[in-house]
């Protein structure tokens, strides 16, 4: 990662360390603190929402790498809100012809200013019928959903009567709509591969960050908590698990960067590595976050402590976009096609 990117990531981490501590997140899920709204305002002010968008369109121009580091840090802090879906939708729309339409451009400006948020299809490949589940809040202005073939459709949610679904992960929200009540605002031709790649990368980054976040807090707890007259972190049966989790978390993070390296090329390698980063990364995060509950012992089972926040968050991540088995199948098909056409997707740029 180059120096400029590392500095941006450090600055995001520093803001979240200040604004999004454990107490604040618990305040949010208990309904005492509108932390999601504060973070949305901060994200708008600091340019996080536009982190990927080219500089000439008012963004920070950091592309997929920017999205990855933002969502890694948000995951690490278990940050509540709609930043994942909003930032992906913004980036996909900004790169589309549709952004030239005046009405769409106004909507984008409102979103960039933090006045409203966007939603996205939770499982873009699933046939909608009369009920479509979106990742996003009830007051999202519009949503990106699957269209014909590789197209996406931006639909207006203002009169869609989006209905909240109470989900286990209280740091994010899902809503259900009747697609018939959400009229199309624009068709984004051929935008779906990019959308799915960025969605996968953001989920992979959020999962890798969450894995690291819950592991770091668990290790800190293991140094503090004493039983049998010594810190529980001194027991090999526990510390070996922490070591395994660290290694798995670091590997998951590397796959995020592999997917980022391929994202700009929008080729088969991009399909392979985005899908695998999300599949392996969210699987690893679920294993780590589950064991972090266990490593905490009794307090890990409470609502008061943090492990549950991360476990529920990564379990939601695991289900989003597409089941991990299906993502591995998509990756395998793209890997096979690439091999047949003489493209080596395993090559790592030096």
């Amino acid at each position: 990662m180059d120096v400029e990117l590392a500095e941006v990531q450090d600055s995001i981490a520093a803001v979240l360390a200040e604004e999004c501590q454990s107490l604040a997140v618990h305040g949010f899920i208990d309904g005492r603190d509108p932390l999601d709204q504060r973070l949305l305002r901060l994200a708008a002010e600091l340019g996080w929402l536009a982190i990927a968008i080219p500089e000439d369109q008012g963004g920070l121009g950091l592309g997929a790498a920017g999205l990855a580091m933002l969502h890694f840090e948000l995951g690490r802090a278990a940050a509540p809100g709609q930043l994942l879906e909003t930032s992906i939708a913004l980036e996909v729309m900004a790169r589309s012809e549709a952004a030239r339409d005046e009405r769409i451009a106004r909507l984008l400006a409102d979103v960039l200013a933090g006045k409203t948020t966007l939603a996205i299809a939770a499982e873009p490949a699933r046939a909608a019928g009369d009920r479509l589940v979106l990742l996003g809040s009830r007051d999202a202005a519009a949503a990106l959903v699957a269209g014909d073939n590789d197209d996406l459709v931006l639909v207006d949610l203002s009169s869609a009567g989006a209905e909240s679904i109470a989900v286990w992960d209280e740091t994010r929200s899902l809503v259900a709509i009747d697609p018939a009540r959400a009229p199309a605002l624009a068709v984004l031709a051929g935008a779906r591969p990019l959308f799915e790649a960025l969605f996968a990368i953001a989920l992979a980054a959020d999962s890798a960050g969450a894995a690291r976040g819950t592991l770091d807090r668990t290790v800190a707890y293991m140094k503090e908590r004493e039983q049998f007259g010594r810190p529980i972190g001194s027991f090999q049966a526990l510390k070996h698990r922490a070591a395994d989790h660290l290694v798995a978390a670091i590997a998951a993070e590397q796959l995020v960067w592999q997917a980022v390296d391929n994202a700009a090329r929008a080729d088969r390698g991009s399909v392979v590595w985005a899908a695998m980063a999300k599949a392996n990364g969210s699987d690893a995060a679920v294993r780590i976050a589950g064991d972090c509950v266990q490593l905490h012992g009794g307090v890990g089972f409470t609502r008061e402590y943090d492990p549950q926040l991360f476990l529920k968050r990564v379990r939601l991540n695991e289900t989003l976009l597409a089941p991990n088995g299906e993502l591995r199948d998509r990756a395998e098909r793209a890997f096979g096609e690439a091999l047949r056409s003489g493209q080596d997707v395993l090559e790592i740029a030096s």
């Binding site: 290790v219 293991m222 810190p231 660290l246 590397q254 796959l255 395998e332 091999l339 395993l346």
Partner: protein
């Protein structure tokens, strides 16, 4: 000599690629697998000799001792080309290529360096006599005894897990010179000739059908005092240099070879219409491991980059421990998967293979050599947890 092109990476790479293609018979791995392990070792000696003629046997060594001062980027280039070509591996030379210079350059004297390193650059084989039956993970508990007798040390004791020692000319040996001192303080580091009277080498039959490792029984073996590396009773410090000797490029090459083997394995499965490609569980597991391999290749590259940038040893040592744990676990998982893919056919006994393709059951069984040796993975977990995560010692 190809090494003379080292300052022009494009020409250097092209020359290596062409030369390997001309020099290594394309069916070398099949021929090797029809032969015995001993024949395979002879093959490695031949290959080392060919590499030496091109200045490619020890390019990473200082030029004063037969090397070419090749920088890390150049070493990675060579390793990458060997992996792409599926060239023969040099397992028998691991100690020669890495531990020997890693020890003698910082800790030996000039006479030792001049005597042993140039010869090693031309192909003498070295082995390591460190572990003992009672000193494995707890290496400093070693008891093999050396008593000074005039200008010699007289050695009595036993060593175990000495890799490739049946084929070696010299051995780097840890002995106890002061039994009364604290456990780390009474150890010395010696160089032993493997044809010394009183040395008996007994090979250890392994569960994978190979016999890479041997036991060494030492009865009144006499080693000249000039073969002491470092000061008497300062052997533990010298051994730390040996164990810290840089093997990052070795790990890099091994991972790159595995990457090509994964792609070859998949390509062949497609060509053969293999049934496992239709099996959701096996196909998806293959992708999981392919991605894990990609992650481990990136981690190794990051480690080498940190080395290049002169990152502090403590942080690169931690990265090495993490990579060892992840990489060896992955090797085991790949062996496990391939064994299941191959089914009953894969149960056919095959005691040796050339590491040019996956052989499920062999790879699976052999993988325990990786998870146990070089610091068991349990020791790695201790290191990562205690020195990396700061968890208290037990």
């Amino acid at each position: 000599m190809i090494i003379e092109l080292k300052d022009d990476p494009t020409a250097f790479r092209a020359a290596i690629r062409d030369w390997v293609a001309e020099t290594v018979p394309s069916d070398w791995a099949d021929v090797a697998e029809r032969g015995t392990e001993d024949e395979a070792i002879e093959y490695q000696r031949w290959w080392f000799g060919e590499l030496a003629k091109q200045g490619l046997s020890v390019p990473h060594w200082p030029s004063a001792y037969g090397g070419a001062d090749l920088d890390l980027a150049g070493q990675m280039l060579v390793a990458d080309e060997m992996a792409r070509a599926g060239a023969p591996t040099l397992n028998v030379y691991v100690v020669t290529l890495n531990h020997l210079p890693g020890t003698l350059i910082p800790c030996g004297n000039e006479a030792q360096r001049a005597r042993y390193l140039p010869a090693a650059s031309r192909g003498t084989v070295w082995c390591q006599g460190f572990s003992e039956p009672g000193a494995g993970s707890d290496l400093a508990a070693l008891r093999c005894r050396a008593v000074r007798d005039g200008d010699h040390y007289v050695i009595n004791g036993q060593k175990i897990w000495s890799s490739m020692s049946r084929f070696a000319e010299h051995c780097i040996l840890l002995v106890r010179t002061d039994p009364d001192a604290a456990k780390h303080a009474g150890i010395s580091f010696l160089i032993m000739d493997m044809d010394s009277p009183g040395l008996e080498i007994r090979k250890i039959e392994q569960m994978d059908g190979q016999a890479d490792f041997s036991e060494l029984f030492l009865t009144d073996v006499r080693i000249p005092v000039e073969n002491l590396v470092g000061a008497e009773n300062d052997g533990w410090r010298v051994a730390q240099a040996t164990l810290a000797s840089e093997r990052g490029v070795l790990a890099f090459e091994a991972a790159e070879r595995r990457r090509h083997m994964m792609a070859d394995y998949y390509r062949k499965a497609v060509d053969d219409g293999a049934a496992w490609l239709e099996d959701d569980e096996l196909r998806r597991e293959f992708m999981t491991l392919l991605a894990d391999l990609q992650a481990s290749r990136r981690l190794i590259r990051n480690l080498l980059e940190d080395h290049q940038n002169g990152e502090a040893h403590a942080s690169t040592a931690m990265a090495s421990a993490r990579i060892k744990l992840f990489q060896t676990g992955l090797i085991q998982k790949i062996g496990n998967l391939v064994a299941r893919i191959e089914g009953v056919e894969g149960q056919r006994w095959q005691p040796f293979h050339a590491q040019r393709r996956f052989v499920g059951m062999f790879d699976y069984l052999h993988s325990f050599a990786w998870t146990i040796s070089g610091g068991t993975n349990e020791i790695m977990r201790n290191v990562i947890a205690e020195r990396g995560l700061g968890l208290p010692r037990g």
